[in-house]
C-alpha cells in the first residue's frame, strides 16, 4: 500500500469519534454576547481537521503538496448559545463515503454542562494538489476511512442529519 511521506495515526475507532475539544475564544463573541454563527463553523472546521488527521489527510497532506480537502456543502443547526470561555466537546459521526467524498456530521456540546449547542453536517471532497480538481482518496486514506465508517455504521443517524430548511406552519 502507498503510504504518505509523513507519519499517520492509527485511527481511533470509538463511535462516534470523540476526541476534539475547544474553548470559545473572546474574539468569537459578537454584539449579542454569544458565539457568532460564523465562529461555530470555525470551531467545526477545526473538528474536521481532527477527523482528516484520523485518515491521514491533515495539514501535512497539503504542506507536502499531495492534496487538499474541500467542503462542498454544509448544514448547521444552532441549538443553544455558548459564551466566552465555554469548553466545547465536538463528536463526529461518518454517515457515508465513496471513492472521493465523505459525508459526516459533527455535534458540538458544552463540555461541562453537557447540552447540545449545534450540529454541522458536511460533504467533504478530496482534491488533487496539482490540478485542484476532485480525485480519489489515496490508498491509506481510503483504508482508514473504511475502518472508521465500519465503526460508525451501527450508530443511529442523528435527527439533525438530512434536514430541509423551512418555516413549519401550524
Amino acid at each position: 500500500m502507498k503510504l504518505p511521506p509523513y507519519p499517520i495515526l492509527e485511527p481511533n475507532l470509538g463511535a462516534p469519534l470523540d476526541i476534539h475539544r475547544a474553548t470559545v475564544l473572546p474574539e468569537w463573541i459578537d454584539w449579542n454576547g454569544h458565539m457568532n454563527v460564523g465562529f461555530y463553523v470555525v470551531a467545526f472546521d477545526k473538528a474536521t481537521d481532527t477527523l482528516c488527521q484520523q485518515f491521514g489527510v491533515g495539514w501535512e497532506y497539503t504542506r507536502d503538496k499531495i492534496g487538499m480537502t474541500f467542503v462542498l456543502e454544509a448544514h448547521v443547526t444552532y441549538d443553544r448559545e455558548v459564551k466566552e470561555g465555554d469548553p466545547l466537546r465536538i463528536t463526529t459521526q461518518i454517515l457515508d463515503h465513496d471513492a472521493k467524498r465523505v459525508h459526516y456530521i459533527h455535534a458540538m456540546y458544552h463540555a461541562t454542562e453537557g447540552y447540545l449547542a449545534a450540529t454541522n453536517e458536511l460533504m467533504l471532497m478530496n482534491i488533487d494538489y496539482a490540478t485542484r480538481r476532485s480525485a480519489p482518496w489515496p490508498d491509506w486514506a481510503m483504508e482508514r476511512l473504511g475502518k472508521l465508517a465500519a465503526a460508525h455504521k451501527g450508530l443511529p443517524v442523528p435527527k439533525q442529519a438530512g434536514r430541509l430548511i423551512g418555516i413549519k406552519k401550524k
Binding site: 467542503v71 459525508h103 460533504m123 418555516i167
Partner: protein
C-alpha cells in the same frame, strides 16, 4: 405590547432579489488551501443577513437600544467555487418565506467582477426579545417593512439550490 423602534430607520429597499450587500475577501479569511475558508463564507453570509435585517429596521441600534436581537436558527451552504484574498463579493438575497417572528432567506454570493456564483446560503433568522432572550414577534414597524418586501419576493421562482438535502448520489 409591541416594541417601538426609537431610532431612525433606513430607506426601505424592495427590489427582487435584494442587491444591498457588498464585501471583500479579507486576508485573514484565507486558509492553508489559498482560498476563503468555509467558515468565513458563513461570516460573509451572516453580514448579508445583517443587511437584510437592517433593511427591516433591525440593525445594530436594535441591539444597542436593548430592544431585541436576531438569532440564526439554521443554515445550509453550498460551496460552488473558490474565491481568493481581495476578491470583491456581491450578494443577492431572496425572501423565501416569513411569519410573525422568523424570516427564511436565500443568499447567493457572486464574484463581483468575474460574475460567477461562489456559494449560496439558505437560512432562518428569528426575532429575540432582549430581556427574556426568547423568541418573540417582530416589532410592528419591522413587520410592516417585511410585508412590503414579501409582497415583491413571494412571486419570485424559488432558486433550484434552495431546499437541498445532503447525500452521496449513488450511480
Amino acid at each position: 405590547m409591541s416594541v417601538v423602534l426609537t431610532y431612525e430607520l433606513p430607506p426601505l429597499v424592495t427590489t427582487a432579489p435584494l442587491d444591498i450587500h457588498r464585501s471583500t475577501v479579507k486576508p485573514e479569511w484565507v486558509d492553508w488551501n489559498g482560498h476563503m475558508n468555509v467558515a468565513y463564507y458563513v461570516m460573509a453570509f451572516d453580514q448579508a443577513s445583517g443587511a437584510f435585517m437592517r433593511n427591516m429596521g433591525l440593525g445594530r441600534p436594535y441591539v444597542d437600544n436593548k430592544l431585541g436581537m436576531t438569532f440564526v436558527l439554521e443554515m445550509h451552504i453550498t460551496y460552488d467555487r473558490e474565491v481568493r484574498g481581495g476578491a470583491p463579493l456581491l450578494f443577492k438575497t431572496q425572501l423565501l418565506d416569513c411569519d410573525a417572528k422568523r424570516v427564511h432567506l436565500f443568499h447567493e454570493m457572486y464574484h463581483a467582477d468575474e460574475g460567477y456564483l461562489a456559494a449560496t446560503n439558505e437560512t432562518i433568522v428569528m426575532n429575540i426579545d432582549y430581556a427574556t432572550r426568547k423568541s418573540g414577534p417582530f416589532p410592528a414597524q419591522a413587520a410592516e417593512r417585511l410585508a412590503k418586501v414579501w409582497e415583491v419576493h413571494r412571486a419570485m421562482p424559488k432558486n433550484p439550490k434552495s431546499g437541498r438535502l445532503m447525500g452521496l448520489k449513488k450511480k
